[in-house]
Amino acid sequence: GAGVSQSPSNKVTEKGKDVELRCDPISGHTALYWYRQSLGQGLEFLIYFQGNSAPDKSGLPSDRFSAERTGGSVSTLTIQRTQQEDSAVYLCASSFTLGQDDRGYTFGSGTRLTVV
């Protein structure tokens, strides 16, 4: 597609429920990243995928968070047993290569998650 697409754009869920957030990266981009942004805060790195390599999960805040990338394209971020502190905007980005790429990352518009 022309850009990085994320769905849903907004999600309200009850505490304790599981949620799935989806990211469609730009075709041809081998690297895919998930970040979380809380109100007035910077972007908190969660996980990245690069090609067929094992993902770097070092940023995932707890074992309630997991992510997968199927066929080197679409990615799903799953949060189990959601807590109120999970409320944030979840941003996905993709790039041609990991890191030093003069074209940078292309971000989606994010999914605003509210846990009530």
């Binding site: 972007l43 890191g99 030093q100 940078g104 292309t106 971000f107």
Partner: protein, 110 residues
């Protein structure tokens, strides 16, 4: 801990002046630094990337520097316009480290 620090106070400048934003990194050595612009309710938009072996990079009205001695990057917007008003984010990338700062809000007054 490894951090990217940006001035949390908003920067207010007059149209036509040069805006200078600061990004400092601590406890790690990024191989590159990236600058992004973020408008309210939108994802960040890539502006420039500078590598550790590059001292300066320019793109139109934008200029970025990378000083490994001061552990700092400066981001300049010359001839600023009200449309440049946004939050500017700095990201420092190293092996297994992708760290963003909290951003600096720039407000350009007409």
């Amino acid at each position: 801990s490894q951090k990217i620090e940006q001035n949390s106070e908003a920067l207010n400048i007059q149209e036509g002046k040069t805006a200078t934003l600061t990004c400092n990194y601590t406890n790690y050595s990024p191989a590159y630094l990236q600058w992004y612009r973020q408008d309210p309710g939108r994802g960040p938009v890539f502006l420039l990337l500078i590598r550790e072996n590059e001292k300066e990079k320019r793109k139109e009205r934008l200029k970025v520097t990378f000083d490994t001695t001061l552990k700092q990057s400066l981001f300049h917007i010359t001839a600023s316009q009200p449309a440049d008003s946004a939050t500017y984010l700095c990201e420092g990338g190293a092996t297994n480290k992708l760290i963003f700062g909290t951003g600096t809000l720039l407000a350009v007054q007409p």
